[in-house]
Symmetry: C2
Subunit: 447 residues, 2 copies
């Protein structure tokens, strides 16, 4: 939609302005269309986002009724607005986040309100001038100390919002108390309206298509394993057809999926923090302890370790320094076996995490891929290469040793998934029956 400068010079001022307007108009339209397309894609990708937006609208409308109905309004007066504020601020995408913020807000208001009322009473004994100084001093101390506490990592992870609300409530109560002597009544009303707002948010969040952070975490971890699995299969296909000139670079999407695994730590940790607030429900009831979330984080960390190795493989593929195809073909069978078995193991583990069933065949897949790794090692040892330049073999040797590394990683992941299953009451008996047999299988086949 840009205008060539030549045409502008020849046209009259009106025509010029009209063209400029048309160009701007076109640009505006294209921005709006782009924006709408992006928004529609977001909605299509995860329809829960649309439902969440409607839920927030509903919760605000429900809590607004306090204003519209005279009977309800009378009890709280202008303080009823805290219910609206609470709904807006507390309502989050997942139940865990909403519950966490709601509980943080409620308890922080309770404690800060009590402290504020106490300080107000204390300051009341002194004169009016002294009262202002004392209130200001306490406000300074509480704000400074609690702000510092927000830096402590453990408190920051779970109670950051609560600490913020603590400062807010304490300052509001102690400061407003200077003008308004009904400070106890004010604190009580604030607490009640916040409880009403928080309860509305939590009830609507849980009762209409709830999004559980725990489920999201479990799906994210399982999805990451699946991405690694599809990389391994894609890599094998690419490596044994690629002529090494870098032409096929970045061609397949299956080779790109693992990238999101590399930087998944932050998302996983925040989901685990939200999940800790969620009540025991459904499949979680079958756990011995309430929160196996740490185990999910362990599996996620191991998946990232695996992703670092796949990044090295991907880099090798794109660097264009490959062993000549005729040599690569000699290890194709073993490498293919290794990657397909590893990929099957990962898929099996992902399914096990999603379905909360023990990974029944993953160990045998891992054992088979270890056998394939040993085959490659003996291929390297038996001087298959003697006729060739040692330098040309090194890239393939690197691929093979990285694969062996990846198999090790996957074995650790499988151990972690077994540990997760062993925390899971209903599968404990099945798991104990399956585990030793399979670890014996590995020992027999490998050692």
């Amino acid at each position: 939609m840009d205008i060539a400068p030549g045409t502008l010079e020849n046209a009259g001022p009106f025509a010029c302005a009209w063209r400029r307007f048309k160009a701007l108009h076109g640009k505006f339209i294209s921005i709006v269309v782009d924006f709408a397309r992006q928004a529609m894609k977001l909605g299509r990708d995860d329809p829960r986002r649309i439902i969440h937006s409607l839920k927030v609208g509903l919760a605000i409308t429900v809590v607004s009724l306090f204003y519209y109905f005279d009977g309800l309004y009378g009890g709280f007066g202008v303080n009823a607005m805290w219910a609206v504020i609470t709904v807006v601020v507390v309502f989050d995408f997942s139940v865990g986040a909403t519950l966490g913020r709601g509980l943080n807000r409620a308890f922080a208001t309770l404690f800060a309100g009590a402290l504020g009322v106490g300080v107000h009473r204390l300051a009341n004994y002194t004169g009016h001038k002294c009262e202002a100084i004392l209130l200001g001093f306490f406000g300074f101390i509480v704000a400074a100390v609690v702000t510092f506490l927000r830096f402590i990592p453990k408190l920051k992870a779970r109670y950051d919002y609560g600490l913020l609300i603590f400062i807010l409530t304490f300052c509001l109560i102690s400061v407003s108390g200077y003008r308004d002597d009904e400070v106890l009544e004010m604190a009580r009303q604030r607490l009640f309206t916040i409880l009403i707002g928080g309860a509305t948010a939590v009830i609507i969040c849980i009762s209409i298509c709830p999004v559980w952070a725990g489920d999201n975490l479990s799906n994210l971890v399982a999805g990451n394993l699946e991405k690694l699995a599809s990389f391994l299969v894609g890599f094998e296909a690419e490596y044994f057809t690629n002529s090494g000139d870098g032409e096929n670079k970045d061609s397949k999407s299956s080779l790109q999926g693992y990238r999101s695994v590399l930087n998944s730590k932050g998302t996983e940790e925040s989901l685990a923090n939200f999940a800790k607030w969620e009540p025991c429900r459904g499949w979680l009831r079958t756990f011995k302890y309430r929160h196996p979330w740490k185990q999910y984080l362990n599996i996620g960390a191991l998946a990232r370790q695996c992703a670092y190795r796949t990044d090295a493989l991907h880099n090798l593929l794109n660097a264009g320094v490959l062993t000549p195809l005729e040599i690569r073909v000699k290890v194709q069978e073993s490498c293919g076996k290794m990657s397909s078995e590893s990929s099957n193991a990962l898929k099996e583990l992902a399914t096990a995490i999603r379905a909360m069933s023990p990974p029944s065949t993953a160990d045998s897949h891992i054992a088979k891929s270890k056998i394939a790794a040993n085959n490659i090692k003996s291929l390297l040892k038996t001087g298959l290469w003697e006729d060739n330049d040692l330098l040309e073999i090194i890239p393939t040797a690197t691929v093979a040793s990285t694969f062996v590394d990846i198999v090790d990683c996957i074995e650790k992941i499988a151990q972690s998934v077994h540990e997760l299953a062993s925390l899971h009451v209903s599968f404990r008996s099945a798991d104990v029956a399956v585990c030793p047999k399979q670890s014996q299988l590995i020992q027999n086949e490998i050692l």
Copy 2:
């Protein structure tokens, strides 16, 4: 502090209770001492945290003066509390975060207030009952639409807080308007008190020991390069002394530092988002364009790529499958050269980023490490190994090829730092003079 069950049975109930109390008391004391020690460490590690806490206390005390002085209070009445709320919510550790939140809050309040007053006027024309329905309907629509907009990644990164405040203000203004007809006056007062609170927060944040997110980002990226540099030196020392039995596992802290680089993406991105809000100042004035933050993110991404390779090296070191020491010693000189030159290049690049000076000698270090890489390649080619088992050589070959990879990564980082310097007006002339000479140097030495 646990009590042996035997002793409890033999003692009387009072002695037993006393012991329990002593045990609990001891446990409590140890928790408090632990907590205090952790807090002191946080303060010692970064004294800016203590200063920040005091600044927040000061800002809240200053804004509380509105309540204590009758003249100031008269103008705004109970709405003056919005100033306190704004300070508490807006004041953040870095200037960028504070400014971003302040501007988001101010503009969101302005626009939402205007829309709220407009909707209130519109609803006023209908009857009292119809008004409630209309207001509820508009509240629902605005809350749902704006909540959905918060999912759009670009808006979420910079305007998430503004969108939240938009919903909040719109709902408060349109809903309160139902009871209070002075809605325009209320919107005006809210806006003014928020401006006063925001201005107080921003002025105190900037004027007393300001923490700039831009500086933090630059330091973080430079620090990551330094961590990689110290890993390379530490790895070389470890690799050529380690007997391969895994005994020295995880012994040195220099070998652990790179781990924080692996997961630095989130922190870097949020710092860059904050930095975009910060005004042009000091050394930033010398930039051609105002925001070179994207370039820092590029360097950070390349540093992470390098960290994935170092993770592979670290894993190799701990796996216990090393080439026998007598073979490793043969490549020690070249590998040592490669790691020390790479490490020097990284340190030089880090210094360049910190001091905003062009990296004058980094390119020559990289050139030298490339020469060392070529030396290793020819060592491998000239059949230095003929007497040895091929399988035993592979780990060393893998280390060598990973090192070559790392040198490639560092070269890319150097290019990015040069690009950063070329965006920097005062160094552009110096940079142009230095760059071609050095790239020629590389060409002469390598090709």
